[in-house]
Point group: D2
Chain length 334, copies 4
């Protein structure tokens, strides 16, 4: 069997996870890696993987089939564009870009060059949420009427991050917007967002919110609601519920363990897995496997550039809705 | 010990429950009952309780301390008014009236006559929800940030009922509006309601919706979200969640039993209690005990006329919000 | 409809529960009550029920169909015997007697007189355990292989009680012996009991144990295991599990409520219902209804004298096994 | 940092897991591997690990610090002996041997040579059971009174395996015997085992049982009970419960996922993880890390040769108890 030849750009914590998952696949060979940090380069060398100095070197490396882009957000659009022009398939962490026009531009190039582009909405590959999706898709809850998504982080990121991330709706809720589309396979039509600064005033001063409730209306008139907080005292809270004409299905938190302690004060159990890399460890594996499978022709691209674009649009609509305190149609976002 | 003398107006299913609960209290004597139906009168006679022909007879019955009003909604305002003028304390099923002006009018009379008026928001007395309330009140979740209420009925009422009930927001969600106020002890400022007809087209033809997501904003900027459906295939779904700076507390469904069956297809358990009279059996007991306790001076009125008024206002704001697809401030409702 | 005429002997806490349940049945009239305590007699009078001075008066009361015996254990055998001779049907709290010969004697009289005798093994009517039984009976776990029963009390009874109760196996585990037979419908063949004094040394001094593990072997070679403690810090722990060739079914504890509190220390919930009268409130209702139904011919006696006899035999075998530290066949108990 | 140099003997499924876990550790280098199968040797070569032809070659490989023994059971004693004599530390899969005398002999050599020997009782490292152990050790359940262990396999092994494994008590329950000692840190004094052939008659013909209940008595008079089945229709069932004077703690099954599906038939969830390598994936990681930590001096040996010996003794006592249908003291096993 000829192995697929992969190159990885960016060896931060998420880059390392993708690299490790790739190394466990029989039909993949990681041929080159690049990262501006010396320590990350050494990490690759210790694993026996060749390193190159720049992204351009990576693109030029002999017979690379696909590039994994885990570099900072502001490089994504350019790197995808260059990879597409070079005829390399791309897996790119979300988001492609915060600027809608730029995203459209890049996607046009991707379309022309006919490369495979997959966007890293990892939660689509989580066993909880794929189970929910499968139950919905196979009709186990009948016609879906309501979707409820709870998404709360264990702690807020630094304000410096928030200042350039696009804010709550674009760096955090964007996962939930994608989930809302994914889990019922419907498109969103209208957004109403309500938010507040309840966790940290500094976030408010930076022009963002830290707590939100967002109502989405799908094109068929059914609805979804998302609630977010930047800080949950009890850890990482990630739940999805789909209610339909024949029943309801929930994807729930994964706990540290399932022990129960009974004492005179009550019954006690463990908290949800605290860290997103642990919570979604399996999801990252399945995600990367899924990308590899698209290249071998075993499945279609499960999350394409269009999915990135649509979540961005919903996020921008949510921002506008919050500012103007009114429901905003997606068609207003251009 | 001198017993409190109670009279009951209306012996439908909810009237019978209140009557049975009163009969189990040591310091209460039910002295008279009235109901237009012969069968209901016989029910009382079999229990050895005197019956009278009309509500006016009830008011005139010797030494009645308090009246329990379980008659149809359109009689509530008049009956409360008459009881107040006669100096009788009143427990009245919700709502007082669908007309805001009429409610205000009746409450003014209640205030002048200084009778005790309690409104039958039974869910405030449910062990799940009092536990949630207590946890919030004692600071166990810190400062409350988000409230989530799920309230889904096992099946839709007849369209004929909906036509005169005021619709989803006034006959069903009104319980949730009260819960939203109760559970965090905050007042609502603004309402955004989104709804759809997904259960039964006949409900749409009657001018109502059967599925809804309602976002409430409290005066302090924190938020609540309610989701409703007239029909849940799996039964009566009643959950409340309060998320705050230090944690989260949930009130959950009560199941028929807690058995678990494990077989090759999965793990299976029982459904939620299907019927509201079963689900809230304990709540009705505690509610009536609570009313009796207010009369003996052991506690303040836990749910007064003002509570009925405010839930009605939120309901009317929700209706307006749905019609105009925009957030509506409570102050717009007059 | 002609009502069944009931008399109640003994108005302690369990007598009062049976009385209250009888008073809620349409086709039953409680015609007389007796109890040596003045306070209990007054309780009945307040409910408008005639009282008589002695058990003999009760038997002689006009047209009594059935007697409910809730008097102390040492009166059970005599009272049942007298009722049988008087041609009255009997519901008698367990156990009939601690002496095997005396039980056999009484049962012979019951058989001759052809009265209906039902023994108060209330747990057979608990919704958890009937659900388990039904699942087993309908084949949902296939052929039953193993039964596991956990039965732990919230606190030990006074040593004075233990001294005359027959000890752990005869006053407490006897319920579990009956459950072991009930839940799979099989007879027990052999008993191995292991015990210890871990809760209270005074119990040991009184010649009893407070903690036990008992292995039962059914006639078909399948097995059950029971674990007991006189004191569980977290309350009343009552669980049953049946494992079979096609699956497993569990009956679980009933909690005070189903709330969950999430904070930085973990996830917390409510304890099991603490008091057996609360835990088995529904079971007592269904039990008495079931006795009434046997009298109206709507069902067979669900727990007869033979069931009481067999549980007693298993209990005596357990005592012998504990003393001799060896498995004891039921046929050794005569 | 100088790396520890490891060699692995046997690359079956468990050997591969240990190898993979070792490869993820910073301070470990796997220097050589041996396995009689060509396919397994190729597996190692593909990972860039040198292979040698025999176990003796492995022992002679330059500067090996420790050997991981994952070869068939009948080689364990010899291989450990040889490694000890060669001065290599050893991690050996359980059991050391089925013959008590041979085990004692090997342990004497281990003691003389002062190597570190760790036995692969992987369940001690499972997050569920370490949580239970920690809760007990830190006094959260007070004084432990009762231990309950449920251990049921998803399916029976081939009869050919059972014929040489020592049977249920020595190949399967031995894990539970170790757990019983581990979880409360007490020694077992007496064993009573009851068993039956309920899963597969061929197992009975091979002289073994497939279903069992085993009561253990600790030296302090407290007790444990284990229930086993070779075949659970719903998968791999692994639970531990410790009940004590102040409370109770349970380690529970790990499910495939935590979704819940509600429909008209009930509430449904996923089955336990079916395969022991999945169920204990984390345990295997922690186990091997723990062995490495003993070599670097960061912790004592968590499961030594004595632990293997004692579980074997309990297993032999259980076999004797089953044959003679009587409780057997551990001191009878020599």
């Amino acid at each position: 069997m000829e192995k697929l030849r992969f190159a990885v750009a960016g060896l931060g914590r998420i880059g390392k996870i993708h690299l490790d998952n790739l190394l466990h696949m029989d039909n993949v060979k990681v041929v080159a890696v690049t990262d501006p940090q010396q320590k990350s380069m050494q990490y690759a060398k210790d694993l026996g993987i060749p390193t190159v100095a720049t992204y351009e070197d990576l693109l030029g490396y002999p017979e690379v089939d696909a590039i994994i882009i885990c570099t900072p957000t502001d490089t994504h659009a350019d790197y995808v564009e260059k990879a597409a022009i070079a005829g390399k398939h791309v897996f790119c962490e979300k988001p492609l870009d915060l600027n809608l026009k730029r995203v459209v531009e890049v996607l046009e190039i991707v379309e022309k060059t006919k490369i495979n582009l997959m966007i890293g909405f990892n939660r689509r590959f989580d066993p909880e949420f794929t189970k929910v999706k499968d139950a919905v898709k196979s009709g186990q809850v009948g016609e879906p009427h309501l979707v409820k998504i709870t998404s709360r982080d264990p702690g807020a990121p630094p304000v410096s991050y928030i200042e350039q991330s696009g804010g709550l709706f674009l760096d955090m809720t964007i996962h939930d917007f994608d989930m809302a589309r994914f889990v019922v396979g419907k498109e969103v039509n209208e957004v109403y967002a309500k938010g507040a600064v309840l966790v940290d005033e500094a976030i408010g001063k930076a022009g963002d919110i830290d707590t939100a409730i967002v109502t989405l209306t799908y094109v068929d008139g059914t609805m979804a609601v998302i609630d977010n907080s930047r800080e949950a005292a009890y850890g990482y809270d990630q739940r999805v519920e789909v209610f339909g004409s024949e029943g309801m299905v929930q994807g729930n938190n994964n706990l540290l363990n399932n022990h129960r302690l009974y004492n005179k004060d009550g019954i006690h159990g463990a908290l949800p897995l605290h860290f997103f890399l642990e919570r979604y460890a399996q999801a990252y594996k399945t995600e990367m496997q899924s990308f590899v499978d698209t290249l071998t022709g075993d499945c279609d691209i499960p999350v394409g550039g269009e999915d990135g674009l649509l979540s961005l649009k919903i996020g921008l609509a949510a921002k506008k809705s919050l500012q103007e305190n009114r429901p905003v149609k997606l068609e207003e976002i251009k």
